[in-house]
């Protein structure tokens, strides 16, 4: 009988695909080792508690590491694209920290957040759902 893979280990398994093949095995072993230690520490601190979500959240943190290694292994025009990593990392994480921080202080930022999410969601829906569905193409894609 095979043991079911725990959700946090599944996250590491999936994120491992972003890591260059040469480092993938070692990368997975390092994160599995750290998560197992973290789990043991949580269980020691609060025996019998459900630690799945804490482990899952910690495992999601591997995303930044995997992305960093991925970008560092890529070269475009003979140049490493690592600086792009910083741009993407800040663009994807900073708004959430910023907004959640604002929300935790006061709900007066709620309108701003709802508006930005509505615009972002609306744009994404139009670009990736409506356009392909209705077969609407941009002017540059049209052939004369």
């Amino acid at each position: 009988m095979t043991m079911p893979v725990q959700p946090h280990l599944r996250v590491i398994l999936i994120l491992g695909w972003f890591v260059p093949r040469a480092r993938r095995g070692e990368w997975r072993r390092e994160w599995e080792g750290e998560l197992a230690y973290f789990e043991a520490r949580l269980r020691r601190r609060s025996p019998g508690a459900d630690v799945r979500w804490q482990l899952f959240a910690r495992a999601l943190g591997a995303w930044g590491d995997a992305l960093h290694l991925n970008f560092n292994s890529r070269m475009v025009g003979g140049r490493c694209v690592a600086p792009l990593y910083n741009a993407i990392w800040f663009a994807t994480t900073f708004p959430w920290y910023y907004w959640l921080g604002r929300l935790s202080v006061s709900w007066q930022w709620r309108d701003e957040i709802v508006l930005v999410l509505a615009f972002g969601g609306g744009f994404a829906f139009e670009r990736w759902v409506l356009r392909p569905l209705l077969d609407i193409r941009g002017p540059r894609m049209r052939r004369s």
Binding site: R29, E30, G33, E34, A62, D65, T93
Partner: protein, 99 residues
């Protein structure tokens, strides 16, 4: 050899390792930095030869019924770079005092 200019986060990570926080998660707990900052910093420090990584002894991990962890230690070049960086960020010097 050109001197390495470390960022604040990289200096904090290096300083934590120098103070005995040898594992990634321990460095996160000691510095309060998220994994998205600590691990890329560790990779950069390793690539620059400022820290060295080794695997924990299998017997130690086996005793606790878990896989071995990867630990980091500061190299000679790392100690020099840390001393230089701490001069530039004097407040960081006090961060681990009494730790």
């Amino acid at each position: 050899m050109t001197p390495v200019r470390l960022s604040t986060a990289a200096t904090m990570v290096l300083q934590a390792i120098a103070h005995g926080y040898e594992y990634g998660f321990d460095v996160m707990d000691a510095t309060g930095l998220p994994s998205g900052t600590v691990y890329p910093a560790l990779r950069r420090l390793e690539a620059l030869g400022l820290v060295d990584a080794h695997w924990e002894k299998h017997a130690v991990a086996q005793k606790e019924l878990r896989p071995p962890r990867r630990y980091y230690e500061v190299t000679g070049a790392g100690k020099v770079a840390l001393a230089e960086a701490v001069k530039r960020y004097p407040l960081l010097k006090r961060a681990f005092e009494g730790a």
